[in-house]
């Protein structure tokens, strides 16, 4: 799944695109990250995002757009297996790790640390 050089520049390009949107548009980071997620989902829907992950490895896996892709792939694969209801049951299959990790680590960090400002 990709190599270091490809991961570096593909990851870099994703971030440059984000930075252009941060600096040149009036949209907030919340808007832009949501846009990336939806974009990743759409690319995932047509099968392109998984190929990007095969090509660039972590360079395409880490940007938030891969979260959108994972949600779409999860919904689609379960729907292929068990019909329309699969859209609901399979959605968080592939993103479960990310969300669970974020909640668990967020909780424990909040437990042991203080905000410093």
């Amino acid at each position: 799944m990709g190599d270091f050089l490809t991961a570096f520049w593909v990851g870099g390009v994703f971030c440059v695109l984000g930075q252009l949107l941060f600096d040149l548009t009036k949209y907030t980071p919340g808007h832009i990250l949501t846009g990336f997620t939806v974009g990743g989902g759409i690319l995932g829907g047509v099968g392109l995002y998984d190929r990007l992950i095969d090509f660039a490895g972590a360079g395409a896996l880490l940007p938030i757009s891969s979260f959108g892709n994972a949600l779409v792939r999860g919904a689609m694969s379960e729907a292929a297996r068990s019909g329309v209801l699969g859209v609901l049951t399979g959605m968080f299959e592939l993103t479960s790790t990310g969300i669970t990790a974020a909640i668990i680590f967020g909780f424990f960090m909040a437990l042991f640390f203080q905000p410093k400002g």
Binding site: M1, G2, F4, A7, F8, V10, G11, G12, V13, F14, C15, V16, L17, Q19, F22, D23, L24, P29, L33, T34, F36, T37, V38, G41, I42, G45, A56, G57, A58, G59, L61, L62, P63, I64, G68, L71, V72, G74, A75, M76, A79, A80, G86, V87, G90, M91, T95, T97, G98, A101, A102, I103, F105, G106, F107, M109, A110, F112, F113, P115
Partner: protein, 155 residues
Amino acid sequence: MEDIQRQKETNLLLDNHWFNNWNKLKQPKPPLWKNLIYAFLFGGLVSILGQALLEMYLALGVSQEQAGNPTVATVIFLASLLTAIGIFDRIASIAGAGVAIPVTGFANSITAMALEFKREGFVLGSGAKMFSLAGSIIMFGVVTAFVIGIISAII
């Protein structure tokens, strides 16, 4: 909009045209090239870290399809820890999108909210507010997947 328009017209000191001109000329602009270079470098660095973790997990015997999971979880852990220690925001002020676009930004927003609002208690503070910043990512991600999933199920 009309109120402000009327204010601007009746306010002798401020005229639309003059003000728009002033904004174009004198508002400080972001150092675009500097920001883009740092975004590229930091984004690339985060990806290299991710790639190293990915290859490490593959070498440890995790399957190709599953290797992404511990990788993402580890990156989330690191971002969360850096947030809690108080370093992440300093890195982000230089790196910008370089750490905001990868899942590190997602982890930071969740941890930062949980950490900040623990002062209002874990239930009504941290728990209730944890997803204030990241919530729209989840909502729109799920809605997109729902729509695309339904379409794919039908065709």
